[in-house]
């Protein structure tokens, strides 16, 4: 009975979303106040129904209701409660339900925190989100219903994919979806502004905090996914340029470009039609990612059950949403007038450079991702585009991006002087060049060109961030007061940029100076790697609630002192008979020690893989810094200030003060 209610709530949510998508839109164009006011309660009602639906599916998992097909396929009585709850989004149907539920949450939040926006704007934004929501809810209801029943109900379920039985994967999809869906807000703002013909600084200012928050979630989601792949897949890799990874990385790159372009639109009132286009692109890439992942047109390590009808449905959805928005763009954007002009050497130019590089990076990765599909479609054969392509095209684009990133924040809007910038930056330039050579040599005793480049640009970025901090605070009566007086958004930006430097250091050092060894070890055997002594102490049997495991024990010592005992497991999950490797990791800020148990080789010997990975944590630490930076930037008081006053009239004045 309950699952049917869940299904019913889902259908109701779809109907409400349809009303939310139509009535306020007509109201806004005809100026009917009652119809305009319909938007907010509709968004809240829709969210409520989605919440009920999601809650009922969760309840079915908690109570092991295997008469629900989706529960039977993704859960088992032996599965611990925590994983039974996370199994709600462990498969295709449930993860889509999570998606629409989060979409409802974003709509409700927009309704909640937009009290000071013009009512027509809110009505249009919520209507656009409602229409997108109709599409996705219909996708769930008609092609991927999680409430379908099995009759008769099986005695036990087929268990959750063992790969997903992990804390990293519990958090990864919700974060990622919050990011994907969050970009629908920026998208809806852009479409609403196009429809209303009000593509002004106020629009950019309203979009900014929403875009930043969506970007923060996406950043965290990607970082979590990468961290999970590192410790769970047992190959010690953290990024594979897999189509599904690319599907999340593409909107991230475009979203990053969008955040920066919005800053120009807000402060200088230029780049506006470009910004709108980026907002459309960012969300389109989220939809495109969904299509690529769920339709099975590309082979990927992320196996979602693929089904051609689903592929056709998502493609239709993609076509309608993106096609319609690009049509509106082609219709409305020519009327947008750019107000500001700027000199060749100005902050606008640097931000334009940022945008161009990020968009080119997006395009090259998109090309690499769908290239196998293009060839296949044109009957030119089948190829697999691998990491060599992506590394070869992506790295050369990121180097100039980071160099520009160092200069941008220190440059002036509209016009700057070369002499001023050169004087300001020469110390940082010399310092980063010198230390960029010395530091890797001190740490690892080697010279490698790419390491010197990576270290130099990271140091350059870090130095310019601190220069900026000092430069901005210098005029104040007291340096400390100057520091405190800076707005939160400045600290957010600096922290996020520092995060980029930290990630680059992590990538550079861990890719060039990792050590790895595959060998046969019998109990008592020892190996020295990276200054650490690894001793294999044999294996023991172990078991968890739903798996049996062979556990290898390796003791690590340094200078005769024992520093860690690592446990690495080969698990066989009972229900699916799927083998899994659990790596044993001793994490550290400057190095990870990583061991994984391979196959038994007879005579008590085992294949063992041992890695020494310097600075690898920095990759995710940088991601975390970027996310914290984003949160700081989005909570800047001027966004709240704006919310308190009447929108529009005040924005021009503020823009002048802030710059």
């Amino acid at each position: 009975m309950l699952p049917e209610l869940g299904n019913f709530a889902l259908i109701l949510a779809m109907s409400v979303a349809l009303a939310q998508g139509i009535i306020p839109l007509i109201g806004a164009s005809r100026g009917i106040p009652g119809w305009i006011a319909f938007a907010r309660p509709a968004a809240w009602t829709q969210f409520l129904f989605l919440l009920i639906s999601f809650g009922i599916l969760t309840y079915a998992f908690v109570t092991n209701d295997f008469s629900v097909a989706y529960v039977a396929n993704n859960s088992n009585t032996a599965l611990p409660l925590g994983y039974r709850i996370s199994a709600v989004w462990g498969g295709h149907e449930g993860s889509l339900l999570l998606w629409v539920m989060l979409m409802g949450a974003w709509s409700a939040a927009v309704g909640m925190f937009s009290k000071r926006l013009p009512p027509e704007m809110v009505a249009r934004v919520l209507a656009v989100m409602g229409l997108v929501s109709v599409g996705f809810t219909a996708f769930v209801v008609f092609t991927s219903n999680p409430f379908d029943r099995y009759y008769p109900a099986p005695v036990d379920g087929r268990d959750l994919n063992p790969l997903l039985q992990d804390i990293g994967l519990i958090l990864h999809p919700p974060m990622l979806y919050m990011g994907y869906v969050g970009f629908s807000v920026a998208f809806a703002f852009a479409i609403a502004a196009l429809l209303g013909g009000k593509l002004d600084a106020a629009w950019a200012r309203w979009s900014r905090p929403w875009t930043i928050i969506a970007w923060v979630f996406l950043t965290l989601g990607i970082a979590l996914g990468s961290w999970w792949a590192y410790y769970e897949l047992g190959w010690g890799g953290w990024w594979f340029w897999d189509p599904v990874e690319n599907a999340s990385f593409l909107p991230w790159l475009t979203g990053t470009a969008l955040m920066h372009s919005l800053a120009v639109s807000e402060k200088r009132s230029t780049f506006k039609s470009w910004t709108v286009l980026l907002a459309i692109f960012a969300f389109s890439l989220c939809l495109l990612g969904t299509f690529l992942v769920r339709s099975g047109v590309l082979t990927s390590v992320h196996a979602f059950a693929s089904d051609p009808t689903r592929g056709v449905f998502v493609l239709m959805l993609l076509g309608i949403v993106v096609g319609a928005s690009l049509l509106i763009y082609a219709w409305r954007a020519p009327q947008v007038k750019s107000a500001g002009n700027f000199a060749l050497l100005s902050r606008e130019t640097f931000l334009l450079g940022n945008n161009v590089l990020l968009v080119v990076a997006t395009a090259t990765i998109l090309l690499g991702t769908i290239y196998p599909l293009i060839l296949d479609a044109l009957n030119l054969g089948k190829i697999s585009v691998g990491p060599p392509y992506f590394n070869a095209v992506f790295v050369p684009l990121m180097i100039p991006l980071i160099i520009v990133l160092g200069i941008g924040p220190l440059s002036r809007w509209k016009q700057d002087e070369f002499g001023r910038l050169a004087k300001l930056l020469r110390g940082a330039l010399v310092g980063s060049l010198v230390l960029g050579v010395i530091i890797p040599w001190l740490l690892f005793g080697r010279f490698d060109l790419m390491v010197i480049v990576g270290t130099t640009i990271s140091l350059w970025l870090a130095f310019t961030i601190f220069l900026d901090l000092i430069y901005r605070s210098r005029h104040k009566t007291n340096f400390w007061k100057g520091l405190v007086g800076q707005p939160l958004s400045f600290y957010g930006m600096s922290l996020a940029h520092l995060g980029v430097a930290v990630t680059v250091v992590g990538i550079t050092f861990s890719s060039y100076y990792s050590l790895e060894k595959d060998l046969r070890m019998a109990p008592g055997d020892q190996l020295e790697l990276g200054g650490y002594l690894f001793r294999f102490d044999g294996v023991q049997s172990n078991h968890g609630p739903n798996y049996t495991a062979t556990e290898g024990i390796i003791t690590v010592s340094q200078n005769g002192k024992s520093i860690a005992t690592l446990h690495t497991q080969k698990r066989i999950y009972v229900v699916q008979q799927m083998p899994m490797t659990e790596a044993g990791i001793d994490p550290g800020l400057f190095r990870d020690l990583y061991v994984a148990l391979g196959e038994p080789l007879g005579d008590g010997g085992w294949a063992v893989r041992i890695y020494y990975k310097p600075f690898i944590r920095w990759i995710w630490l940088g991601g975390l810094l970027m996310a914290i930076g984003g949160v700081l930037a989005a909570s800047d008081r001027r966004y709240r200030l704006m919310a308190k006053r009447k929108a529009g009239s005040v924005s021009a004045k503020l823009a002048v003060q802030e710059s």
Binding site: N161, L233, W235, F240, D242, S273, L277, I280, S284, F291, S295, G296, V297, T299, S300, V301, A303, A305, S306, P308, G311, V312, L315, L318, G319, V322, G323, L326, L327, Y329, A330, W331, A333, P334, I370, P372, L373, I374, D376, A377, K382, I383, S384, G386, D518, I572, Q576, Q577, M578, P579, M580, T581, G598, E599, A607, R609
Partner: protein, 179 residues
């Protein structure tokens, strides 16, 4: 309406057309024309021992065997690999490999590192045999019986679902047929 503002729309429509074609071609859904036909003849050097050869005759020695196309550069193969190793460890079915468009040292290194589930791997450096067998992408797995007839083709990694629901029942069926 200025023409240049229509460019994004035009590019997008092109992309949509491409995806439509892509959906029709969906490699996982299209059965191989080779199914229930004799396997294409081949004879290639053994990956691990150049002096030996691996050929269609080797496949015919068994009542039923798997012929798995793999390469060290293929990410999805890594996902599939533990399952193959487990199958070979339990001795469920002999597995022959076709090491496709690979370099010998890379391939050997991969086997040393991740375990070698293969009775033998044929070394198809140029990918000629792969073309004969109609290989779309890597990995692919063929089920071949003792008469050398291809009974099934799995495109992409062998999933738990495909193994339990299709491949294992088929292997048991073929074994029963041959008695």
């Amino acid at each position: 309406m200025k023409a240049r503002f229509l460019i994004p729309l035009a590019v997008f429509l092109l992309l949509i057309g491409l995806f439509l074609v892509g959906l029709q071609l969906d490699p996982r859904e299209v059965p191989s024309p080779l199914i229930d036909k004799p396997a294409p003849q081949f004879s290639l050097p053994d990956l691990q021992d150049e002096s030996k050869t691996v050929s269609t005759e080797d496949l015919k020695k068994h009542k039923v065997s798997l012929f798995n196309v793999w390469a060290s550069w293929c990410v999805a193969c890594r996902q599939e690999h533990p399952l193959l190793v487990e199958l070979s460890r339990q001795g469920v079915v002999p597995i022959y490999g076709l090491n496709y468009k690979d370099k010998r040292p890379d391939a050997l290194n991969w086997l040393n590192r991740l375990g070698n589930p293969y009775t033998a791997s044929a070394f198809d450096e140029k990918g000629r045999v792969g073309i004969d067998w109609g290989v779309y992408g890597v990995p692919e797995t063929f089920v071949v019986d003792s008469k050398g007839v291809i009974r099934y083709k799995q495109i992409g990694p062998i999933t738990e679902e495909a193994w339990q629901e299709t491949i294992l029942p088929l292997i048991e069926k073929i074994r029963a047929e041959e008695g």
